[in-house]
Subunit: 477 residues, 4 copies
């Protein structure tokens, strides 16, 4: 059963999981008015393996049989490039919203492979087999896998042990012969309402005294004690004329609570090895930022494309300042795309023969994306005009009382009647001036680690030594 | 009756006006679930004249009796400064959303005063008395007055007479002995659903052949043939915990249709004087951008203040990069405020003794505000963190099933329990990552004229000649 | 003798001072090929008091007789505005290079007045009279006065007492009944080669253990032990066709060494009062940044003016992207000028009735200037074209062998023959692409305190409390 | 003789060429005090083929024997990558100043190859053999080759035939059986004082009426009638302590005059084919911007390296704002390098099997470099401090009178005595605050086509259609 159908996927989510929405436990996520949209969105992944045009990209066939490319271990730049292409293609299907139900989980699996090899080399061989087994389990059952990494953290300026209570970071509260019991909570856990599994990783480097906090593991979503408190951000009822993207596409995030949850031994991938906690966190991010930049590409395509389309509809596409703005959007897209393709092409082959995308370039690409996103939004809003927030919407076009006026007066350039123009305006409005637009902005600066994190990692990866030697040589010192 | 109560104001809106919302005619705007919020918001203006702390600012007492300061004709910089202060104060009461029901109308009245003087000097004395009378009428009845300026324009690269149909710009279709009949439509008409009057101005300079389009006038909102098609942007049902600003504050915009509307003579302020059409448009903007920058100040205060408050709640306020970001917000606010105060102080006294804010500085202030707004939003979102869009909301805090987890895990720095922190997050979220946030972004770049318009006017006002002479002198040419 | 002639000023510099240039002691600074240019530049100050068109601005007449406005104690915003206008006017005469021989000294005198009052209030009355006497002495003898503030600092991350040797900050090495002996060195001391006096101020806040470093005083430049080691930056021989500014205008900076220099009691203005050291440093800067922004105005005028003039000469002034660039330069100038005028108008009246420019606005103005300078340079270089660095220069226009070609081929738009165009190009080149251009760039980001200092002071002065309260109120916390 | 020695190269320049410097004809460029420095700099190219560590990179060995890689026709991405690497390596040897004596000439040769193929396909086969022969001639004689492209242009807003005189663009004034006679002038011709040959290309697209202006050809530098009027920018006498780069490295530019110069038939590569003039201009630029970005890499390395080195010397390398600035420099370098490597890897194979770098990415890389250069300069100047322009220089360190003070007081962090620190400061000063720094700034925005040209070409190359389709699909229009 290495490839599941959308229906099988949906069926698998009816498993008694403890998901809460607006304070109430959700009986069936697949039929919930909000989470149900997220489930349908996630089905994109399972549908693509069935579609002829995506099959070669979405499915790998090798000794292990046919399975989702996400679970394929990349061995070279070409593998990474295809992985990136698949992420972009599914996000494009998702109307710029990433699907993520396998992307993020496989990022974590790849990181666990690398760290398990390193721990084995350091005299801790037991984790390697567990990781391999778990990887095969996910792959062969075509599972959807979330990742919980960011601890709630309390006062961010304090270490785990210095907080008001000891549970601001997920920790082991009991060691048992057959496993451990964990307590704590993670935030920003994406897609967890509708995956089968969740992988839990440490959020940062730990010191010797933080031993109970150096813990990584995986669990089925319906594990007792695991509570998923979903955010209702962006969940107001939406019309698909007014919100062409967000009425149909949604991703859920949860506050993920571990209320004394038991983790069996074979699902533990790190336990007390404080030296590897930070490394695991960073290694996950090495893959995950590559995923992130890959899934941002359709968003950048849409900013450029919608900018052009609406400028055309408004009759201003030939104005000098408009061309300047469109060029800016084109350059923004080109830089990010060029860099991420280059990051794949210049990957390194590391422990166990795994290909890792060029970390410096990946981080710089992510930073460039994040730093310039709001400005790109500004440009697209400028091109679209104030009608973005002042235009009449769906019913004004269907009502007899108003349709005539709207059609007569809101037409644009030749070939763009009022309806076409409003559809383009609504696309830009949904993308940039709605709660979904706000979601995209916040994701730009926070998802997969914020600015400061990306800058720090770029700084560390940059070959400062060589360029400083060059400076010293020219200075004669 | 120079000062009305909020109740009198509300009563005056039940006058049979033709307002359409989502395709349906609205019976009573004051009780409409969406427009009613806008009406309550507008009441701020009438409430302030009753409050002791605002009375001196909001009310002028002179030979004409006691009346709203908005209708006071400014004679010097101090008058302008107080006008600016009143606009800022009422917007502050409006939680960063401008009230506008008198601001914009009086901007238009001031422009009409100036142009009427100029037309009188050019041999067209009849408009002056009409303007004076109309001004007194609005003042003495304490009316709320909207302004419709932006024509729908069709293909923006074409002139009024070159469009698909001749009605893309409002025009006179019939001259009668007692007035004119007008046809056409305007967009982005703010507050028109809930004012008493509407002033209509040309949108741009006109050429000789555009004579029918050179028309300015005023009408009661319930004039037959006047149709207001309201935009439902941002009208989803909102909880005040999750949307502390936009659940309580709202401004309406309409597509304003003139379906062969009769305008009596004494309400016509320009009719065919093509040479004065562009001048009237620009003169209105000279006052209106001064209003605009004044009402943006509370928004800039809130960006800086919310940035600080949430950084504090997150325990990061002392980090170097955070201080850097807060300084950026402080400088942004300081520059815009300093410039607008300076624009008042360096006003010019023009026709009829009216004080006009320094146009160059006003435009530069507006441009600086507009150009940097999205970046400021980005900073505040960075300071707030991803919880902006991933946090549980209202019911998760009240539900027994989830409240314990939320309170335990979402606490922040000392003194900030989960509820306080979520309230601050929701404030930032409402301000920057919601449909209201999108509304603010779009307003920043489009309201009161877009970027390119501000740049053009700044360029024209700048004393290029003096600086070029200086350059030539130093170059010796 | 409250107003000296340029000749008297020059004569006063032949006093045996120990100035070193390229390792050699300079006999007479007024005739030195490089420093002599700086002396002539400084004469602008003495010449302006003689010129009818500047006399009212440059000279104050009151109970103390006629004297240079620089020595006038400002009592209100108008005094500050005139001070600012005088600084700008003399810098304009100096072709964008500040004169500074009284500006900086009087900034220090004003700060000393304020601190002496504060120290008197704190039980140290002796300094007040010394400051008053010294102020009168400078004023009544129309002296040129330099200020040495920045210590050499050694390792900038270490305190004065933690350095490799104790002399990295100027300190008292011996207390005598009639004065003190000081040792150490200051950098970046502007105009010291050609002033009569030098005032020495502490560079930063001091701790209790730094007592010997808490020292402020004044000395004649020719005091034994005072050594001025001048920087030769920008001192290559220059033709005034190729370098229309810097061939005629120059400012000197020195490494200023105090080799066990005796300071008599009446010239000591702070000695061991560690609590006032930082305050004095900051108070000086409050005035000095106001001076700084004032003297930057002609530079901003020239950037805008030269940008326009060269665009015109190149025949591109009507291109859309050119107008955009010119508008940017105009806005940059307007913001900085508007803010500094506003800083004068919103001054505070402090100890002894002295007017101090609005510190928040001054710092923000300085920061805005500094942050955007390089970008403005880029724009002007773009407008000018590559000929800035590839054009033939002076002799190619006079030589018979080449003049014909140059005149034929380097002409520009109508009215701009090759010579005119080259003159404009050379102006831009001297201003932006020469060692003088580099000097202006470095001054922009470092003079009168760098970026980080301005940001820090702006952050401190900003009313964070009020805006944070506003945010909290709106959030309901 | 496919590889020449530096000595052979220098000898070849003593050929009677008509080079003018400051109005005088230069007898021997190799011994001229200014041009001689440029000649020595150019020798880097000939020296590298002799050095073991560069031989594999600098020399190609194939059926045509051993010859300089610059003359190798690239067939794939790897060829382009090596070409880029060689350009960067020689520029690195040149202390960030490009050598260019073969780079630019071979860019032109490659473009001529492509256009000759296209013209052959369009029925004009005669040019192909001429290009091939000329290419072999340059390669087999290891020649240095300049390119003159930019016409003087007169009023830039007018076409060639609409100018004050017809010679503002180079044109054919006489057709002869054995060749043509050309007249006109080009500007910004780099390295022409010290190459053997010069290739002349049209500067822009031509219309039917511009036929005489559609001309491309090559000539030996000493051809009668060819006059090179050199720019003396940056030619003041320099000490290598104070100017560690520019005292030793120099590139010359000329106003290149064609005073009725005869061009023999086999040296003519375009003559009247107006349709190919613009294409040739653009094709040259497709290679030349790739060259440009390649040679900018050492400059970006030095900005990052010098920034780090001087921050270390100043003892501030660990400050948060410093790390932020260094990260910015690192990201800037990484983006430009990543993109240009990617442009090589994603080349297209065009006419005659020639590999052309990805034009979109090359232009975006160039644009990103150019747009951000001044800001990077600002950062490095901030890190270095004001001593950049106020420090004593060479002689102050050797003179007995001053050396002691300088050594005592200008030391920095541990390990950086005054001399070391001054050397680093001088490096930064030479790079950013000298006439050489100005030269680099102007080159950044103008060389190889300015901003607007790069933006235009990027806009044209960008796949606007695909992204607009995507937008339309999502909008449902």
């Amino acid at each position: 059963m290495a490839l599941r159908t959308p229906e099988q996927y949906k069926q698998s989510l009816r498993d008694g999981r403890a998901v809460f929405f607006r304070g109430e436990k959700v009986n069936d996520v697949t039929t919930h008015p909000v989470i149900g949209i997220a489930v349908e969105h996630a089905c994109i992944d399972y549908r693509m393996t069935e579609e002829a045009k995506y099959r070669d990209l979405a499915v790998v066939k090798d000794g292990a049989g046919e399975y989702s490319r996400y679970f394929h271990l990349p061995r070279n730049g070409e593998d990474l490039r295809k992985r990136s292409e698949l992420i972009a293609a599914s996000t494009r299907e998702g109307a710029t919203l990433v699907v993520l139900i396998k992307e993020i989980g496989s990022d974590a699996l790849l990181a666990l492979h690398l760290i398990a090899e390193r721990m084995a080399a350091a005299g801790k061989p037991e984790y390697r087999e567990r990781v391999h087994n778990y990887h095969r389990y996910c792959r062969d059952n075509d599972l959807a896998v979330a990742v919980a990494q960011t601890d709630v953290k309390g006062d961010r300026s304090l270490a785990p042990t210095a907080q008001d209570h000891p549970d601001y970071y997920v920790r082991v509260v009991e060691e048992r012969p057959d496993g451990v019991v964990v307590r704590g909570a993670k935030v920003h856990t994406s897609v967890s309402t509708n995956t089968n599994e969740i992988i839990v990783l440490p959020t940062r480097a730990m010191r010797a005294e933080d031993k109970p906090y150096a813990i990584a593991f995986a669990l089925p979503i319906n594990t007792p004690g695991l509570k998923l408190i979903a955010s209702p951000h962006g969940s107001s009822k939406k019309d698909s004329f007014e919100h062409p993207i967000s009425a149909r596409h949604k991703m859920m995030e949860t506050l993920t609570v571990f209320e004394d949850v038991f983790v069996p031994k074979d699902r533990i991938f790190l336990n007390g090895e404080v030296d590897f906690a930070g490394l695991l966190a960073l290694t996950f991010v090495r893959y995950h930022r590559f995923t992130a930049v890959s899934y941002k590409l359709p968003l950048l395509e849409l900013l450029a494309g919608a900018g052009y389309a609406i400028a055309e509809a408004n009759g201003i596409v030939r104005a000098a300042h408009v061309r300047d703005k469109l060029t800016h959007l084109a350059a923004y897209h080109t830089i990010v795309r060029g860099l991420i393709e280059h990051a794949a092409a210049t990957c390194t082959i590391e422990e166990g023969g795994l290909a890792v995308p060029n970390t410096l370039i990946t981080n710089v690409a992510k930073y460039h994306f994040a730093h310039n996103y709001h400005h790109a939004v500004q440009i697209v809003q400028e091109l679209a005009g104030g009608l973005l927030v002042t235009a009449p919407e769906a019913e004004a076009l269907t009502s007899e009382a108003t349709r005539g006026y709207v059609m007569k007066y809101l037409g644009g350039a030749k070939g763009f009647d009022a309806e076409k123009r409003l559809r383009l305006l609504n696309l830009v409005g949904d993308l940039t001036a709605s709660d979904f637009g706000g979601y995209q902005e916040v994701l730009a600066v926070h998802a997969e680690g914020g600015f400061e994190a990306e800058k720090l990692q770029a700084y560390r990866e940059y070959d400062c030594k060589t360029v400083t030697s060059y400076a010293r040589k020219l200075a004669g010192v």
